[in-house]
Symmetry: C2
Subunit: 303 residues, 2 copies
């Protein structure tokens, strides 16, 4: 089974792109033509109408950004709020990304005790027991996971690396309140660096042919010092860097984080790309394509 | 809007029970009669068959334990691994618990940046934007949330307390690896007590008529010293205590944690109740009823 990190590295190198496009669909920001097309009716409930609108929007974004993006990151919450219909749209979105050759990082931030964690792993990657055959899950290539419960809670996801999947552990997040716990000082170092140590330990057994580990870390662009410290602690990990664009993080210091042929990092932007059409352009696909391409150029080549 | 903590306290007092029954459905542990009834067919896919089996099993458990349980706690992961069909079964399970007068704590352990956290809140509690009307979510009364991202990530859930919902923040979990991060020493105290401080601060604005806060804490029965320390830090919070039964935590020291008329804690057992039928009894409902009643007596009256 090919390593996740090798698939992601190949995508980065093929497209010369460190861009991860976040798929965060919100009804109030859907293009008017899609809203018009997907209204609820006597046979289509509200949740189904919204989910169908999201699936078409995400498919349009994926098609548009595929030449300039290394991967996509659907945010589960935005789908999940529409229940079963939303979950179906999420699964369709993952399949659509694969049809365009894009690895999918499913942003779920899960984390639970071992038996429950294994169920979350199967939700993302498939394999839940069926009567005659296992059930396919969302079909993601990698997930984001929360480390608060400890290494036994991370284990079900890390074990999936042996089957070609990847994991990005939350280390230092991009939100304003991130410092509250993550930067508490433990033995002279911030807590998040202790988490980075755990990531390094878990990832050592899962290194692909290109030298990157399948166990990566989420580190926000809004915390440049943390980014440098985490890179030093994780020289072989892919970093997933959210927080540029709408969240205000800059890209000028990201260049120094690049390691190896494929950079070893992907930089996520969601709203600033998928809703670029609201900044004056009428066509959401063209606006998203230009947004992704602009970020690709801004981040420079992987190596 | 009645406070969540008042609804939970009323349920505890009415049934003289501190029992929370965890709903963790697993196909390999379904009773044979239900497996026989819900086989996949030409018109029913694997995932739909399993989900229908889970919904009937959970409905049977809920009916059986309703006299002896104060609340139920569906574990989202076990449903989520069956995708859209699983999510529908989860929603039906929540509605079934409400039909039996049981408050529902949806165990999702979510936590994300503010805009995403708000979407997770709507997934659990409803209110996602629709074309003409908001979309109903899973319909839960309360959720479990993960504190690693900080207080701004907890805020969307805590804000829902003003609308009658509740929150249980992970403080000290029941799994073997919990100590790895949660007991790291920060300024002379374990990290989990710093999290308890956050819970106390966020919960102060959401106290019901019976004196309990709508913002509670998850503390595992497998860590008795942590339980006592968290109770001291949170004298007005409901504690959700997992880890008894299959996870090995004892109940003998839980009595000293009771505060007020309704005890201020609920003790969760999942597998030891819902799969009690596998210990020799043939009828899963009778075995679950007896298991819940036995735990109710073991925990004693709320005050």
């Amino acid at each position: 089974m090919e390593h996740f990190s090798d698939r992601l590295a190949a995508s980065v190198i093929d497209r010369r792109s460190l861009v991860c496009v976040g798929l965060d669909p919100a009804l109030e920001r859907m293009p008017p033509a899609l809203l018009e097309k997907h209204r609820p009716s006597a046979t289509v409930d509200e949740d189904e109408a919204v989910a169908a609108c999201f699936a078409e929007f995400c498919a349009g974004v994926i098609e548009a950004v595929a030449p300039a993006a290394a991967c996509v990151k659907p945010q589960a919450a935005f789908f999940e709020q529409y229940g079963a219909a939303g979950w179906r749209a999420l699964t369709e979105t993952v399949a659509c990304a694969h049809a365009h050759g894009l690895p999918v990082i499913l942003d779920v931030k899960r984390g639970d005790i071992a038996s429950t964690g294994a169920a979350y792993r199967r939700a993302a990657f498939g394999g839940a027991p069926g009567f005659a055959a296992p059930v396919a899950g969302a079909g993601a290539d990698a997930v984001t996971v929360n480390p608060y419960l400890g290494d036994d809670a991370l284990a079900p996801f890390v074990d999936a690396c042996a089957e070609g999947r990847g994991v990005f552990v939350l280390v230092r997040t991009s939100n304003p309140g991130a410092a509250m716990l993550q930067e508490l000082e433990v033995e002279g170092r911030p807590l998040y660096l202790h988490v980075a140590d755990v990531v390094a330990r878990l990832g050592a057994a899962h290194v692909g042919a290109r030298g990157y580990s399948d166990v990566g870390a989420v580190v926000g662009a809004t915390a440049p010092a943390a980014l440098r410290a985490v890179r030093a602690a994780l020289p072989r990990a892919f970093l997933l860097v959210p927080g540029v664009g709408a969240q205000g993080g800059g890209t000028d210091t990201l260049g120094e984080l690049k390691v190896g042929d494929a950079g070893g990092l992907v930089v996520n932007a969601s709203r600033s790309i998928i809703y670029a059409w609201q900044q004056g352009q009428s066509d959401f696909q063209r606006a998203a394509a230009e947004g992704a391409e602009a970020l690709r150029r801004e981040l420079g080549p992987p190596a």
